[in-house]
């Protein structure tokens, strides 16, 4: 494997790099990675989410899930802020993805315009 020594450098460099908001639970972001999600651009949306979190030095748990049956609204992104109900966003383009991080994850402001109605989003 190439340049494993670079990984060692990263390890030494980032040990206490990320600002952890003490005493707070982390936000959780779940991206739909079923076939329809991927075909609709979920990989690029996820890449934008990661990049925006990184730029803002925000910590969040980002995971993937399969098809949830709302294929026409993919890419779908769920945001779980600590203590708040889930918000599901639909048709998440890379630029929407960045806005979701900037407004919702960073500042707690739900972007209702892009959120699915409660009846549209899936059951837990």
């Amino acid at each position: 494997m190439k340049s494993l020594e670079e990984l060692r450098e990263i390890k030494d460099r980032v040990k206490e790099d990320i600002r952890v908001r003490q005493g707070q639970d982390e936000a959780r972001i779940v991206v739909g990675m079923g076939t329809c999600g991927i075909a609709a651009g979920a990989r690029d949306a996820l890449e934008s989410i990661l990049d925006e979190l990184n730029k803002r030095r925000l910590k969040a748990v980002v995971t993937q899930t399969g098809c949830v049956g709302i294929c026409s609204r993919e890419p779908l992104v769920d945001v779980f802020m600590p203590g708040q109900p889930r918000v599901t966003y639909g048709e998440v383009s890379p630029s929407r993805a960045r806005q979701i991080v900037a407004q919702h994850v960073a500042n707690g402001n739900v972007i209702s315009e892009w959120a699915l109605n409660v009846s549209e989003s899936r059951e837990e």
Binding site: K2, L4, I10, V14, L53
Partner: protein, 183 residues
């Protein structure tokens, strides 16, 4: 699906959803034989004979019904359009093996695409699973192995943003170099 890298993300999701802990990917490109092969093995529960048979010819037989999956038929279609085929068998380690074969030079073969991006996303969202990726181009090899990464990183998680960025940047470049600049 426009890239083989996206099909791979889709196969990965199948393995993850089935409960695999480790996924082995082998991509072999041989331009002399004019063949590109993508092989994905996992250590999940596998599929029974009937299931394997039905996912394999879902593309031919069941376009009207909806309960058949979408991912494997789409991949089968991509293979067949480029004079190849898709095969689903049992993996030697247990679990499932998916083999997708394409004619390398076929105009309809999807491009490899952003494999560095796919590897980065996989590492970012699945820090507890392992991925062993071998990519061979006319005998030259590029390897990505999360188990080796863990050894280097000790207790730093492999989904740390800086590590994910390293994966994306390093493998975008090295896979492109491996393939002589082609994407």
């Amino acid at each position: 699906m426009e890239e083989l890298a996206l099909h791979l993300l889709d196969l990965y999701e199948n393995s993850r959803a089935a409960g695999a802990r480790c996924i082995w990917v082998n991509i072999d490109e041989d331009t002399t034989e004019d063949r590109l092969t993508v092989m994905v093995d996992d250590d999940g529960p596998g599929m029974d004979e009937q299931m394997r048979a039905s996912v394999a010819d879902a593309f031919v037989t069941t376009r009207k019904t909806r309960r058949v999956g979408l991912g494997l038929p789409l991949l089968a279609q991509a293979c067949e359009q480029s004079d190849g085929y898709l095969k689903v068998t049992a993996a030697p380690r247990g679990g499932t093996r998916v083999v997708a074969v394409f004619q390398h030079s076929h105009v309809d073969r999807p491009p490899l695409g952003d494999m560095g991006g796919t590897l980065a996303i996989i590492v970012a969202t699945n820090p507890h699973l392992d991925l062993v990726y071998h990519h061979c181009y006319n005998g030259q090899e590029c390897v990505f192995d999360t188990r080796r990464m863990r050894e280097e990183l000790d207790d730093l998680p492999i989904n740390h943003p800086q590590v994910v960025k390293w994966v994306r940047d390093t493998y975008r470049t090295s896979i492109q170099d491996l393939r002589g600049g082609e994407i």
